[in-house]
């Protein structure tokens, strides 16, 4: 079985500051890793994904994440956030290529001016 832990439920930051949203996972098999964003009153949108290859993955809106197998982590980073990045961010894993995902608890990113 797989599980995902997002270590921070809320992350308040000021505009143009860097941010890191932490995600750790547990799995006895290899997994694919994802970060999704949910803007208020909207569905989920894929930010980025790690399937294989380079451990540094770049996504949309200037976000990137680094897969660390030894630490079973997949932290999301952005060097300079905008007000428009205010949203809920979900880390997710799947052990196969199907769309069945196991989600973390979510991290609410709040960007203040």
């Amino acid at each position: 079985a797989q599980s995902v832990t997002q270590l921070d439920s809320q992350v308040p930051v000021f505009e143009e500051a860097p941010v890191e949203l932490r995600c750790n996972y547990s799995s006895s098999v290899s997994v694919y890793l994802f970060w999704y964003v949910q803007y208020p009153n909207q569905g989920l949108q894929l930010l980025l994904k790690y399937l294989s290859g380079s451990t540094l993955v770049k996504g949309i809106n200037g976000f990137e994440a680094e897969f660390n197998k030894s630490q079973t982590s997949f932290h999301l980073r952005k060097p300079s956030v905008h007000i428009s990045d205010t949203a809920e961010y979900f880390c997710a894993v799947t052990p196969n290529q199907g769309g069945k995902l196991i989600f973390g608890q979510g991290t609410e990113l709040s960007v203040k001016p």
Partner: protein, 115 residues
Amino acid sequence: SAVISQKPSRDICQRGTSLTIQCQVDSQVTMMFWYRQQPGQSLTLIATANQGSEATYESGFVIDKFPISRPNLTFSTLTVSNMSPEDSSIYLCSVEDPSGNTEAFFGQGTRLTVV
């Protein structure tokens, strides 16, 4: 990619009644997924719906409470039966990428409030 249309977007329902949520995809997909997002919480998979077979339910979810239909490769419905206030959640439909990429697409969700 896939575009998903989910209806209704929100509803307020009386306890004891049932609500059917529709999910329409613009491409044929093998599997469709239904998730629940309770207030302030993450997404939990309810069931996987394959066309032509019974839906597969996750632990804690049963067919009598959440019957699912999957009449063709582009459409599915989830019914929330005999509702109680604890069923107040956002229900989301999801599909795998019909192009074969490892990615899931989500509908906008149905925000259900049971009073």
